[in-house]
């Protein structure tokens, strides 16, 4: 590795939510990737992967945004996202969406193979720091977003990324129960959505932890939305935590 001169280039797909509402998470993602030795590119034409339209059944609209996203990212060596949900959209749903499109089906498969969620990417590349055998810095609890754990099967990877950065994880009961977000669902059926979020926060509080970490900006916005102003519990993105730990 010592005579490794060419830094691997990764493209950051920052996601529309992070870009417009939570830019700090994007900055942390860049910091973490750079510290792991990557050259980070931010293709500035990117906007949204099209998941909101897709999940509402608007396939034509979703395809427009998906084609753009494919065109913008398909030639990079790897694409990294601070979101399990948007990673799922690209990896699992794009190929579905373009099943009958001679050109984009192939391109969708190509992009799917090199698109990774942040914690997953660091794990897979062996770029996690060797955790020191000292006392862990902070104990946190971890919320498995539905896309992370059930669609991408990423349960251990984010936890390993956190522990390698010196955190310890105190598990809550049903850490993989949905937080109530569900994209447009959270606006279409807000009473139910909020009741689900309240349940989730209740479970998190029972651990006594001050921080709940998640890998999805959607869940984060949703759950922060029901915190009190001076709440004992904070909800943070995994990129923020990894960045902070250095």
């Amino acid at each position: 590795m010592s005579n490794y001169t060419h830094k691997k280039k990764v493209a950051l797909l920052v996601t529309c939510l992070v870009d417009q509402a939570l830019p700090d998470i994007g900055v942390s993602t860049v910091n973490v990737l750079r510290r792991a030795g990557y050259d980070v590119a931010f293709p500035s034409a990117q906007t949204c992967c099209g998941q909101p339209s897709y999940n509402s059944g608007f396939h034509d609209e979703a395809k427009k945004l998906a084609r753009r996203t494919i065109d913008i990212f398909v030639d990079y060596e790897a694409v990294v996202l601070p979101s399990g949900s948007c990673t799922t959209m690209i990896r699992k749903e794009y190929p579905q969406l373009f099943k009958n499109d001679p050109k984009y089906y192939y391109l969708a498969l190509r992009l799917a193979k090199k698109t990774f969620e942040l914690g997953e990417f660091l794990n897979k590349e062996g770029k996690l720091p060797q955790a020191e055998a000292t006392e862990p810095k902070t104990a946190v609890t971890y919320h498995d977003s539905c896309h992370m754990c059930r669609m991408l099967d990423l349960r251990d990877e984010p936890r390993q990324a956190l522990t390698a950065h010196g955190y310890s994880i105190i598990e809550m009961e049903t850490s993989d129960r949905c937080c109530g977000f569900g994209g447009v669902f959270s606006v279409r059926m807000p009473e139910i959505s909020n009741a689900m979020t309240a349940d989730k926060l209740h479970e998190a509080r029972k651990t006594g932890m001050k921080t709940m970490v998640t890998s999805d900006p959607g869940c984060l916005i949703q759950m922060r939305g029901l915190l009190q102003e001076d709440d004992d519990l904070k909800i943070e993105h995994i990129a923020t935590m990894l960045d902070k730990a250095g």
Binding site: V14, C16, D19, Q20, A21, L22, P23, G26, V27, V30, D39, F42, S44, A45, Q46, T47, C48, S53, Y54, N55, S56, G57, F58, H59, E61, K64, L65, R68, C146, R150, M151, D176, R177, C178, G180, F181, G182, G183, V184, F185, S186, V187, R188, M189, P190, E191, I192, S193, N194, A195, M196, T197, D199, I221, Q222, R224, G225, L226, L227, E229
Partner: protein
Amino acid sequence: MIHTGCTVTQFRQEATQTIGNASLQKALRGATAHFVDGRQAAFDAFPDGEAIRDHLKEIRGATISNLAFYLEQFEQNAQAAGTIVHWARNAEEAAAIVTSIARENGVMLAAKSKSMATEEIKLNHALEAADVRVVETDLGEWIIQLAGESPYHIIGPAIHKTKEQIVDLFEEYRGRPLADTSIAALTAEARHILRQQFLEAGIGISGGNMGVAETGSLVLVTNEGNGRMVTTLPRIHVAVMGIEKIAPDWDAAAAWLSLLARSATGQPMSIYTTVVTGPRRPEDADGPEEVHIVLLDNGRASLADTSSRKADYAEILQCIRCGACLNVCPVYGESGGHAYNSPYSGPIGAVISPLLFGLEKYAALPHASTLCGACVDVCPARIDLPRMLLALRADEVEQGIPSPFEQFAERAGTAVMGNAHLFNLAGKMAGWGQKMFTKNGTFTPPINPTLDRNLPIRPQKSFRDLWNDLDTD
């Protein structure tokens, strides 16, 4: 109770009532948690469970894709055993078949065991309109019959009722207060009342958990033994079963049964498994003189037909109605069963109701989900319910069902998202707009579509605005 469909507004209203009703919440949470824990323990003690789920998925898939073949085989073998087989294209036909059997035999009272298919065809309604009194003999079904409600859960029709409510219902039925209101006394009371009905009933009506093609047998599982009474005591037994509930042979039936009760209640087997192969034979000690099976299509065949537009949905016919998906569904856990306004609730209800009863009528149900996928984790046939919810949403768009506002918003939103500068500008403008309603760092919009949830504030600089400072290499 006649189900008329479900709009988003209806679903929300019904769910809001459930969420605000502490005792209902408690009953609902208690029952579903009990089922979930039971299922988990049952699978923990059943090392082959996961492999048998794979197997069940395969055999159900293979059966559904050759459904006509197995149905014919089932009919032939059932007829050979002396069963009279009827085919019903829709709910009305099915209800009419059962009603005319009752009428022709001068039946005044019908004893029923729990059956979702008869809920689907609104059989009680049809029978009562023909002056045949119907008594539900499953305790839960009887309770909701007394209450004039529809089932709250596929396998636990009355899980939403508290003990106090049940006491009230019994007292009203008896017309006098009960001396002893312990659960044991209530059960004894119900048994006493229902026993009499079995003896008086001229016809026994059941559903069918499964039909086994190789022998033409009907399989019925119950925990109270009422299924056995309904199928043996009255002179005539009529079963109503969806055409998809076919197992090719007893080998498949064994795999099916090994998962059904485990997934439903966590039992290795239901207490009673009843197999009906034709009416009583001369050497039999008991049993009905006539056995009828009504095979109900009601939209199912078009789902199985791979040349039809709905071919995407054939997988839903693999369902064995165990109810496991309801118990783990966080939306069902908040909304409860009645919000779906359909005999079928929860994830399976959200998929099957629009498919069988009309997408426009049940347009809200495909949206009553966060697509979290918890249902797939537990479904014994590993049915990909979220995939079908997504497909139904796409069908709604194709059929122009979403509101003009939503259609406009989608198109406008996509146009903005199609250009990074426009997108960033729209974000900036939203941020300026937010400023007007932001005090001390809290954004309080005049109308909050998320109700009491705080919305994030769009910061001065988006990530792309910050990128130039970051891009130092």
